[in-house]
């Protein structure tokens, strides 16, 4: 008997159901493309991709036609900062936890995926928590509710890693119950220490990188060599140094934002996004000069001291100073109405409709380097679409349908119509459970006497 597991066979059964779905046409919609203006018309979807979008399109034979009845169609919302659908968030025992990976703990049964869908989100950057100066590897996923964990992964998304500055990573932890004093607690305890931890880690990473380069040099020359020990903590940091992994850095204060940008410049890597970045408005020019993106909240602050000096104009000011800005949720609840978060930037800072929508679509797509695949309604892009009954920047807008890769993953009418059956099923299961417990009580004594 053989127990060896074949990756190939896993992959095969994943790919099979995708074949040969009929084309879909969504017609009679107010299409907000985000990148190519807006129009009244149709979007044609084939093999999971947008093939045509415009006022007049050719309807392919055998196409499933969805009449939008004048409702609003926009690209699926992309959340650049989320912690849903995972069975662990922080590996807080160490200050550098780059060896851990969100991909290992994805849970496709988390109901938060479905709720995010119902809020129009199709893609999210699932980040490790902020307990460490250098945190774990993150995963970009699509909200493919009902699929397996491996099928949630956004194919073609560049890998990322979480960094964190300030209050969270400098928490030393507390002594275990019953232990006097604070023995063996974690370094660092100050913001200076956070900087030191990052420097130390990248210094180690450079040495590690040099060891491997030396090994490859020997191999190329056909010299005998044993490869160095693989170090899962340092490997992702070498990838950061080599531009193969995107850094998403949790931060609040202007001084530490500048500190991180200086370290990155010194070690020759880029910070892809600053996350939260509530004081970004103070150093927007410096952020833009480094080329970092900013992913912030619309008006959520004062939940801790370092998050006090915040203003609702933050996103708009950074946009005007040339920073690539997105709005994120960092919360399973906020995730369900990122469209209204975007709308707030029109009131605070006077962004245009398109600019506001960009903050939750094409901009986060650029920050995750998936903008060639998603983030706007353009031929060639993946058909990740949301249909709202009202304009998505209106308080009254409700999500009607959500498509990912051209497949309907959320349908409001279907959801509403299925609720009575689900209620009945739940009632029946509760009843059966009561019966089981009653039977068990009757059949007692249990195995204790054995």
């Amino acid at each position: 008997m053989r127990f060896r597991i074949s990756l190939l066979s896993l992959a095969l059964c994943v790919a099979a159901p995708l074949a040969a779905a009929p084309p879909i046409v969504i017609r009679n919609a107010n299409v907000l493309t985000v990148t190519k203006g807006s129009f009244q018309g149709s979007v044609v979807i084939q093999d999971g991709k947008i093939v045509e979008a415009g006022p007049n399109v050719l309807v392919p034979q055998g196409a499933t036609v969805i009449d939008a009845n004048g409702m609003y169609l926009m690209p699926g919302i992309i959340d650049c900062h989320s912690h849903i659908a995972i069975d662990a968030i922080n590996e807080s025992s160490v200050s550098v936890s780059s060896m851990v990976s969100i991909e290992d703990v994805l849970n496709p049964d988390a109901i938060s995926i479905y709720r995010a869908l119902a809020g129009g989100v199709t893609t999210a950057n699932i980040l490790h928590g902020s307990a460490n100066a250098i945190g774990g590897k993150c995963s970009v996923i699509k909200m493919r509710w009902g699929k397996r964990a491996s099928e949630l992964l956004f194919q073609g998304a560049k890998p990322g890693i979480k960094f964190a500055l300030g209050e969270n990573p400098k928490r030393r932890g507390s002594a275990p119950p019953g232990v006097q004093g604070t023995p063996n607690l974690r370094y660092p305890a100050t913001r200076m220490g956070v900087e030191d931890v990052i420097r130390q880690a990248f210094t180690e990473a450079r040495i590690y990188q040099a060891e491997w380069r030396e090994y490859y040099r020997k191999v190329e020359k056909n010299e005998q060599a044993i490869p160095p020990r693989r170090d899962l903590k340092l490997e992702p940091l070498v990838e950061v140094l080599e531009g193969k992994r995107l850094v998403h850095a949790h931060c609040y204060r202007a001084d530490e934002i500048l500190m991180l940008l200086r370290i990155a410049d010194e070690y020759g890597f880029k910070i892809k996004t600053l996350q939260h970045v509530l004081e970004g408005y103070k150093v927007a020019k410096e952020i833009a000069a480094h080329g970092a993106g900013a992913s912030t909240f619309s008006d959520w602050w004062s939940y801790k001291v370092e998050a006090y000096d915040a203003i609702p104009y933050n996103a708009a000011i950074m946009v005007r100073k040339g920073v690539l800005v997105s709005l994120n949720s960092d919360s399973a609840e906020l995730m369900r109405h990122l469209n209204t978060e975007a709308a707030k930037t029109m009131k605070y800072g006077g962004l245009s409709e398109t600019e506001a929508l960009s903050l939750i679509t094409i901009n986060p797509a650029k920050q995750l380097e998936i903008d060639h695949l998603v983030g706007s309604i353009e031929p060639g892009k993946q058909a990740d679409l949301v249909l709202y009954d009202k304009h998505p920047l209106s308080n009254y807008a409700k999500v009607q349908k959500v498509l990912i890769d051209g497949e309907i993953y959320f349908d409001r009418d279907k959801d509403l119509s299925e609720r009575p059956a689900k209620e009945a099923r739940k009632k029946m299961l509760l009843e059966r459970e009561k019966q089981r417990q009653a039977e068990q009580a009757k059949n007692a004594p249990s195995g204790r006497q054995q």
Partner: protein
């Protein structure tokens, strides 16, 4: 004080009732004549005879002549099965008392700061070195019809090596069928401020250990080839233990965990055996594709009796509790190799009750029996000596009056290595009667 006395009593009772009378003198040859014989590997013999000699099954069939001088057990009204085997337990390894040992006063070890500290790792432990033939749970297991266990050390992340053991023997060594059943792992964080402190930390740690083991092997091989002029690699008992493992046991209860462990096993090219399996009814196809066997915990999930009666439970949780026992049927249908075990707190009888629930949920009874006999033997690579009633195999047998999975069925005897043990059932029955 009272507790101490009662536990003393319990020990002496176990000694008096269990161990000594149970060791019947082993005659040279035993024959069970004209019994219903469920061989598992072949057809059921309605009037079969089994000859046992020197701890082995010498002959089995319907036309067997009983050798002269054999002790004969008349099998009318009796059914003979292969001795039952749990596919995962700690039976045989003495458990620490609830009152705690002397270790409590020992200073806690410093927290681990990374994988190099090998946190919660005891991959050098072997169940075969830990078992005792007087361990108190063996008697109850035999009385319920069990003759064999895949016994593992289970504490920590990389807990140690299991052994296939027979549940009786004069010495611990004589109980061992194979000392190398596999390496038991959990996904439990190291605890306290130690690394790893999370599920993803545990997975990353185990991944690093496998990588380190590969590297260690490379260094050792290189050094052995030509040691001169080379620094010798430091001996690492944690990695030695990983390199020796014929298979790795990984926990996987719900569907997400099953898929996660299958992916991990595929990535590291591990010969994996999963354990848990309560939501395997959703993942039978993926398991089939992977080729990995799964051990099903027949302590099926139920609502906690002390749970808040007003707390609302999700449909997902209710579905799991409703459908968990149907996992066995789903696996049988899909052709996934599986075997049963029960949680450590469950009694051997509870394990059989759990299997009965799986039968009620659609598992054919013959498949249930197989998952308690030949299937675990196959999963652990000992089907050439255990798991069915066949000529040449170890004489581990269960003799009952009535069908195995009926609540009223009485275990008459079990044979372990050809030695006959009578169950302590009358005592248990009296206790049950008294309790009523």
């Amino acid at each position: 004080m009272r507790k101490a006395i009662s536990s003393l009593l319990a020990i002496s009772a176990a000694t008096a009732l269990g161990v000594f009378p149970a060791f019947a003198a082993a005659p040279g040859t035993i024959a069970i004549r004209n019994a219903r014989v469920v061989t598992v590997s072949g057809p059921v013999l309605q009037r079969g005879t089994i000859v046992i000699r020197d701890g082995l099954i010498e002959a089995v069939g319907e036309q067997i002549t009983v050798p002269s001088g054999a002790w004969v057990i008349e099998g009318d009204g009796l059914t003979v099965y292969p001795g039952l085997m749990t596919s995962l337990s700690t039976w045989g390894i003495p458990q620490p008392n609830a009152s705690g040992g002397g270790e409590r006063n020992a200073p806690a070890p410093p927290p681990a700061r990374g994988p190099e500290d090998r946190p919660a790792t005891t991959s050098w432990l072997h169940a075969a070195d830990l078992i005792q033939s007087s361990e108190r749970r063996l008697e109850a297991a035999r009385s319920a019809g069990f003759t064999t266990s895949a016994t593992f050390p289970v504490n920590g992340i990389i807990a140690g090596h299991g052994a296939i053991i027979n549940l009786a023997g004069e010495t611990p060594g004589s109980m061992v069928v194979t000392p190398s059943a596999g390496l038991y792992m959990t996904m439990n964080p190291a605890g306290g401020p130690s690394y790893p402190g999370s599920l993803m930390g545990v997975i990353a740690y185990i991944r690093q250990v496998f990588l380190d083991a590969e590297h260690y092997q490379m260094l050792k091989a290189d050094y052995e080839k030509s040691p001169a002029g080379k620094r010798r690699p430091a001996y690492d008992r944690a990695l030695e233990g990983v390199l020796n493992a014929p298979r790795i046991l990984l926990p996987a209860v719900n569907a997400a965990q099953i898929e996660r462990m299958l992916r991990f096993a595929a990535e590291r090219k591990i010969r994996a055996v999963l354990y848990g399996g309560h939501e395997a009814y959703r993942t039978a196809e993926a398991l089939k594709q992977s080729g990995a066997p799964i051990l099903l915990n027949a302590s099926w999930p139920e609502r906690d009796r002390e749970a808040d009666p007003d707390a609302e439970e999700t449909l997902q949780v209710l579905e799991l509790r409703e459908n968990a026992p149907s996992s066995a049927a789903a696996l049988a249908k899909a052709g996934v190799p599986f075997a049963f075990y029960a949680s450590d707190s469950a009694s051997p009888r509870d394990l059989l009750r759990g299997v009965k629930k799986a039968i009620d949920a659609g598992l054919p009874a013959d498949r249930a029996l197989r998952a308690l006999t030949l299937s675990p033997a196959e999963i652990y690579g000992v089907a050439d000596r255990l798991g069915s009633i066949e000529k040449g195999k170890i004489a581990n047998l269960l003799v009952t009056k009535g069908d195995l999975f009926q609540e009223r069925t009485r275990v008459q005897y079990v044979f372990i290595d050809g030695n006959k043990y009578e169950p302590a059932a009358p005592v248990a029955a009296q206790a049950e009667g008294a309790a009523r």
